[in-house]
């Protein structure tokens, strides 16, 4: 019995020692600025979680090796404490709480996905911890009046409205008939709202408006409607499942539609999984390596892509690029604030106006980045069957001409 007590007190002493040592280790200590991040390293978002983490790590290494962050005449280096949120919003919120109140983190980086960012934002807001996030695009994040949330990416409602505008333009300025199918989740429904806005603006008519279930793997019914009603544009958003299912079934059912616009094509590795069947699909993207934005750390998109590939062995998806950009924003804000006071850093973040390799960054009062348009790329294949994504809109960045209308299946 006594032995048990001794062991118990010994263990609790260790725990207290450990937790205090962690707390004193965090925040800004010595020459280190410690950021906290809950990331989906396991669970259903794990692939994109890893892309996010790789993006963060790449930027940390780059900034540290190029002189770090200069605040008050002293040089600091970035360090990140990661926790695995298991792709679970509840867990993410707990971990944010833990990072802030136990580990003493004073600045946060965002998790992957809108859902998880939504879970974390109230926590960071409560403690007044500035969070720069790179992977939560849902419009509802920016309408809640959060003061400490900053997103380097364009909000979800802007994902595909370029497509509608382009379709109207190609139709000689006349309204078009739109068919749309969206998964029932926060992100896709925001994309849908953007389309509704664009349709109203251009006077276009939505003739099919399907909501797909979360466990979607069959959209034959929607495509049968498309086949019968012959819209001018088909818009699909349902993460990677939606993109893969749509391309498979459009090819199998030989659905002819002049324009097909989607999200998550590069995450779904469309051209790799579907080859020529994915040809002509238009995809919304936050970033593409061929864009010519520049900064001092990564030079430009092409250099970033080459360096990323060398380090991690694959072509960077936009999830990685935007995550790297988040750290550039933090560095810039720290230096302008010239302080580690959370309020001052927040104000510096709010006043951000810079260019990174990922795009221009300037935050609206709601926290979303308003200075970076979405790009649309089109999957283009050559005769040998190898496919590439080429930017086609907006015209300023276009590296290829949009192919429109999509050739009929009978003529391919």
């Amino acid at each position: 019995m006594r032995l048990n007590k001794i062991i118990l007190s010994f263990v609790s002493a260790l725990v207290i020692l450990f937790s205090t040592s962690v707390a004193s280790f965090a925040k800004v200590v010595g020459d280190k600025i410690i950021l906290g991040a809950a990331i989906s390293l396991t669970g259903k978002y794990s692939s994109n979680g890893v892309h996010t983490q790789n993006g963060y790590n790449m930027a940390v290494d780059r900034i540290n090796s190029m002189g770090g962050v200069k605040v008050g005449g002293k040089t600091y280096k970035f360090d990140i404490i990661y926790y695995d949120d298991e792709s679970n919003p509840k867990r993410a919120a707990q971990l944010a709480e833990r990072l802030i109140s136990q580990d003493g983190v004073e600045f946060m980086l965002g998790p992957y996905s809108s859902g998880l960012t939504k879970a974390i934002a109230p926590v960071t807001e409560k403690y007044g911890v500035p969070m720069v996030e790179a992977n939560g695009a849902s419009r509802s994040l920016f309408t809640k009046g959060y003061k400490y949330l900053f997103a380097v990416l364009a909000p979800a409602n802007l994902y595909l409205d370029v497509a509608i505008e382009t379709a109207v333009e190609l139709n000689g300025g006349k309204p078009v008939r739109i068919a749309q199918a969206f998964e029932q989740d926060a992100f896709s429904q925001d994309v849908r709202l953007g389309i509704l806005d664009a349709a109203e603006r251009t006077g276009s008519k939505i003739i099919i408006d399907d909501k797909l279930p979360k466990e979607l793997n069959d959209m034959a019914a929607t495509l049968v409607k498309v086949k019968q009603m012959k819209p001018d544009v088909l818009v699909v958003s349902g993460h990677t499942k939606g993109a893969l299912t749509a391309i498979r079934q459009i090819a199998e059912m030989k659905v002819d539609v002049p324009m097909l616009a989607m999200t998550h094509c590069d995450a779904a590795k469309l051209s790799k999984q579907h080859g020529k069947n994915s040809q002509y699909a238009l995809c919304a993207s936050q970033w593409h390596k061929s864009l010519t934005y520049k900064d001092d750390f990564f030079k430009d998109g092409m250099t970033y892509a080459a360096d990323f590939e060398k380090e991690f062995g694959y072509d960077p998806p936009y999830q990685s690029a935007e995550s790297s950009a988040a750290l550039l924003v933090f560095k810039d804000a720290f230096e302008r604030a010239n302080s580690f006071d959370q309020k001052k850093v927040r104000d510096a973040l709010a006043a951000t106006n810079m260019q990174t390799f990922y795009g221009n960054i300037k935050f609206a009062p709601g926290g979303q980045n308003v200075d970076k348009p979405m790009v649309l790329f089109q999957v283009m294949c050559d005769a040998s069957g190898s496919c590439e994504n080429k930017v086609v809109a907006p015209l300023k960045w276009a590296s290829a001409k949009l192919i429109h209308p999509i050739p009929k299946w009978s003529e391919r």
Binding site: G43, K211, L212, P213, A221, T222, K225, L244, R248, Q249
Partner: protein, 297 residues
């Protein structure tokens, strides 16, 4: 929009054919569930996860350059042994227990499988391309992907083989005997332990076939198993245990019902309508049962 089915009559034909092809595949999964439910009194929540695992087997064959249709032969063989292993490790400890315990156990297996698959294969959505073309009917107003026709054909083939096997073979007879009365079968010299293991193995093999077919027709993802479990549960509930023609009919009926719900109520109510139907059927069954009980009193 609500009257699309009437505006375009060909949609009705399309919906029926789509529903039937889909339903046959569901029925195959449900048949496995009915079999082990009947024989062992176990409701297998991990059914859908076994299906997905079968799908991954076909997918990996496809990755290594083998046509995924061969998965229809390879997946059940591998899955049979996976099934036996699950039985030896977990199921044999819960087989005589309360139904609730077996539900908990298989629920645990389901979570374990999901996480393991996610860990091993990654969280990406994948599919295997069969390269089968498309069949056009009625002046190309009705389209049927050949992959769906192929999967329906294979499902029927496996179901028919299984029925014959159950009727003619020694093991099949032993399984049916155990389903009727396990104790009596034991007394008469049937090794019920072996029968249970084989039943679970056969169920897993059927899931393997269905999974391979799903990788060819739809998509595969570690967390996509549950809808298959629910659909097969529903089919078995409607058809009753040990009623193969019933399972086939209710599978196809459910497929067609889903398609029409999609056209008439809208895609967002597709899965919801299936659940609604499940509730209605359960209520109806209870109602019928309570009347019977009164009679017994």
């Amino acid at each position: 929009m609500d009257f699309l089915v009437f505006q375009y009559p060909m949609i009705t034909v399309q919906a029926c054919l789509d529903g039937i092809l889909l339903g046959v595949l569901f029925a195959l999964i449900a048949y496995g569930m009915a079999l082990q439910w009947g024989v062992m009194n176990i409701i297998n929540i991990a059914q859908g996860d076994l299906v997905i695992l079968g799908g991954y087997i076909a997918y990996f064959m496809y990755l290594y350059g083998i046509h995924p249709a061969w998965g229809v032969i390879v997946a059940p063989v591998i899955m049979y042994f996976v099934g036996i292993a699950i039985y030896k490790l977990v199921i044999n400890k819960v087989v005589d227990r309360d139904l609730f315990i077996s539900i908990l156990a298989t629920f645990g297996i389901s979570i374990l499988f999901m996480q393991l698959m996610n860990f091993a294969f990654g969280a990406d959505v994948v599919l295997a391309n069969s390269g089968y073309g498309t069949t056009m009917l009625f002046d190309s107003n009705v389209v049927l992907p050949n992959s769906k026709i192929f999967s329906a054909f294979i499902s029927i083939l496996f179901a028919v083989c299984l029925v014959i096997y159950m009727k003619k073979s020694k093991l099949g007879r032993a399984i049916r005997a155990t389903a009727q009365n396990a104790r009596a079968a034991k007394i008469l010299g049937v090794d019920t332990e072996k029968v249970y293991a084989a039943t679970f193995g056969i169920n897993a093999a059927l899931c393997g076939v269905a999974g391979a077919l799903i990788s060819i027709t739809f998509t595969i993802h570690p967390y996509m198993g549950l809808p298959y479990t629910i659909r097969s549960f529903m089919i078995v509930i409607v058809a009753g245990l040990g009623n193969l023609p019933g399972v086939a009919m209710s599978g196809m009926g459910l497929g067609v019902f889903e398609e029409f719900a999609d056209y008439i109520l809208g895609t967002e109510f597709r899965i919801g309508s299936v659940f609604l139907l499940l509730v209605l059927i359960l209520v109806y069954r209870r109602f019928k049962l309570s009347r019977k009980r009164e009679y017994l009193k």
